[in-house]
Symmetry: D2
Subunit: 311 residues, 4 copies
């Protein structure tokens, strides 16, 4: 909430908070349920801020690639929204769930309609739409993401995708469960194959801040000169991130950080201040709710210090 | 999401949308579970906008008083936050619930800690705190609200409070249930008496837009020259309204309107654009989720037309 | 499961098992949520068996009175069944619940129809029927119980009833919750007053085995020469005890003991072998599910040793 | 509940009730979710009673084979109990669930431990044990069932197994879900393959009454002269059928029929009176809870008419 613009020295603020956070204990635990993810060094910690004026500030391991995991769900949702428009809301809702990201409970009472596109179930329904639409789902999706980033140096990690597939029984359960309600159109194996690949995309904080700029900058265009989404659709994606982006800690993130954002179990977080900037943070240790411990801490300090939040 | 300020003719926008909405069918149904509320004229419809520059624009029945019901929960929360600070979060959480406003289900698995202060359960816990703090809870609370509005012309409706008490078995169940977990300190009868009165407060859209200005204007002060809440606390109240203000339609409101806000079963809605304005709408017919049909419609059109939303 | 009758020396079996159980550690904990109940001596342990041939065998504290608590729900159910017939099943179901005795969760999805008459919720609906029927509910109910026992020496404990009323917030929540669905016809206060008294009835194992003989002996008649329930209704009460008599340990009791029965948090258990006998056991320490630790142990050993079970 | 033995003319009772039931409307609907099952003639209706004295009475289509479906779960449970003893209760509970047969909800809060072995989830855990134990699960299981029936004329229906596998997304979800908790040891595909075959076994009412005699007759031996289960284990299987044999209609069956039994979506029902008889009924149309409409009706009339029930 701000009345008059003040000039913030972002570089200084980033550096100061970074050192404060680093000087404190690095709590939490790395996600180990995907064996391949468990191999990452727990002390990695990077942040990158990209402003509307195209100024970029990085600190720590901001150029190291990591598994973006659920952050990719914002990309698939945006592409599906671009392709299918408001039709997608017939198959997935936009309400916070009040339950963990991989819960099956509500699906049963909601007859296979996921509460929102950022729960695993909702993301699978979105993946199912893309699988139906794309000729070569994996290749076409990756091409679209590279286009957003204006970089061809973005890829899936086959090792991570394979690792997750080998232990992803709960996701298999979810996908088959939704299929039993008819809300998955393709075969679960195919949808899951795409889903596990999507989650395995690797990016650095630098790349994430570039890719997600389309949610912060209404003038953002791809190389073809087109918007990714119009203003109204962009607003809606941001609104869903605000209410549903952090699983059952979405209220807490909104409360403490006050920006729309999305986290992944790889320890990444992206947040946007519409009209101002996009910021990405990464630190692999997660709190109890599955969100980056240091990432949350950094972002709370950042919006508190700058007194910039959408609220 | 806006890059450069444009001048909006609020009066014209309000009037145009008002007539558009009025020209369409007035769907939904008045809340009848409180007998006294059922007596209101379903065709009432008013809106009032108050800007940071203290410009006020009203249309329709914007000066008619109505029962603000759950909108009052923002006032009690703000006062409790002012009095007790972050202690209050030990007894109530800030997460969206994914369930209806009067659900008892989650309370059982959450051991009596309500998901957020805008569910009935959470509001009762907040009321319990105020009952413990105030010498004369009803009188002192009303005085504080009048101070916010800078008007002594605000009162409880004894008829509505009595009417709700006579049929409020579910609220009695909720209060006794929380008490059984030890998260209500006073006797349920006393807490409920205060709660029913609080919900019975009557205001017009004009008054609501004035009362809630403390959430939009960081320079807002009461007659004593004090802020109601500091910037950080204000931001947090707005964040909770964003994620939890519309029961299990909070995601939908965020998605369609894109502002923090709060609704009541009397048909009122208040929304704020931090740093810009406060807006109040009222129309008694409710949609299936219990939020004003025309109020929702008006506000969606308003933020779409002005292209102003926090996202 | 028996092919040919064998003669069992009940006295010897009872005595042997009694001493075996007493020689082992007395695990569990006395129910303390009702302050008055917490005063009982934890080492009390008594059993009484009454056969069809009217032979009675007692051991330990079999003539000491204790609070029968939920065991009384079988009596109120039987009387309501006698008075209203199958009408009662419109307001309460006969299915095991899979949840604790005082859970509110299912009531919400079942719209106020309790799963069975032995959950607190179901017993309250039955109490509501009796309150509507009797001129003086407390007096008339007690008279009916005394008639079953053919003894006037049975009474409420006003101290226990008062003690439970003073802390029974969860039961108040349940009763108001059902009332909110319209499945309680009288005022909750009145129904709860009757319910708390009913649960406070005090009996000894000796008296319990006499009172419940109407479920074991098809020729049982009261002093007026009438059956309590006809054969079909008796069978049904026994069936409900079998599937629902021990809260969410009903399956376990059925599995281990193999008789229809009912427990109370005072530590009492009654079980019947239709056509053979009625047995009552009492020991105040409860296992985690709220059933008498020694009572369960005794009865399992008893049906194992005698090789008598209905299965 | 009976005092003195009376001679019942079973043939006459069976015939009379059969004609009564046939003369009334055949309500309900055939299970169509397994395409192959939908092909059966809805008017089939047969009953077979086998007494301890080895008298057999059949009526209607009592010698026509049909898909026994979930009735097979009693056979797999009995064999697993025989092989592993009480170890099996570490992986599956014995409590009624209060939820439909294929619900995933409780599994989530129970961390993958199914409530009882007759829910699909519980049966899958039992199947997993047998898959681990048998060298050739399908062949060895079938051999064991043939041994119980003393007939080699019992087989799987490959068409039904294949049909169910092709649409069994919910069962795939269940199996993967339990696997995610670690309570399935083999690969879900293998367990499901066995499970679908097990459910596809075809028998007539005549064969069912023979196969299940081991639960009614304590002297039952296989061709090797061995008991299937000892008296204690038999009692326990019967107890679980009583409390859990009819999904969320188990209480209703217990209430109306008063015998331990098990139903299948093929329209079959088996019930036993320990020490007296085994009875099998079959009619494909199911009531809302998934149990044979005419089968339930017949058995209720049968125990009412004969005044024989374990209660």
């Amino acid at each position: 909430m701000k009345l008059e613009e003040k000039t913030i020295d972002y570089k200084k603020v980033l550096t100061t908070i970074y050192h404060n956070v680093v000087s404190e204990e690095n709590k939490g635990a790395i996600a180990t349920y995907i064996p391949e993810l468990a191999k990452v060094d727990a002390d990695n910690f990077g942040v990158c801020l990209l402003t509307m004026n195209n100024e970029q500030f990085g600190v720590g391991n901001w150029q190291t690639k990591f598994s973006i995991q659920s952050i990719s769900k914002v990309l698939s949702l945006s592409l599906a929204y671009q392709i299918f428009g408001d039709e997608i809301w017939k198959r997935v809702d936009v309400e916070p769930s009040g339950t963990p990201f991989n819960s099956l409970v509500q699906l049963e009472s909601d007859f296979g309609i996921p509460r929102n596109p950022f729960m695993n179930s909702g993301a699978m329904v979105i993946c199912d739409m893309l699988v139906s639409h794309y000729e070569n789902p994996k290749e076409d999706f990756l091409a679209a993401v590279r286009e957003l980033c204006k970089s061809s140096d973005i890829s899936y990690s086959e090792a991570v995708a394979k690792s997750e597939a080998s232990v992803g029984y709960r996701n298999k359960a979810l996908c088959n469960f939704i299929k039993s309600f008819g809300n998955i159109k393709n075969e679960p194996e195919e949808v899951l194959g795409f889903y596990f690949h999507m989650c395995s995309i690797e990016m650095s904080c630098q790349e994430l801040s570039q890719v997600f700029m389309y949610l912060a900058n209404p003038n953002f265009t791809t190389s073809t000169g087109d918007n990714v989404l119009n203003l109204s659709k962009t607003k809606r994606i941001n609104a869903i991130m605000q209410t549903c982006g952090f699983y059952d800690e979405s209220g807490e993130f909104s409360f403490r950080v006050g920006l729309p954002g999305k986290s992944g179990v790889g320890g990444g977080i992206v947040a946007v201040y519409p009209g101002k900037y996009c910021i990405a943070a990464w630190s692999p240790k997660l709190n109890e709710k599955g969100n980056s411990y240091r990432g949350m801490k950094f972002l709370e300090a950042f919006t508190t210090e700058t007194e910039e939040s959408i609220f």
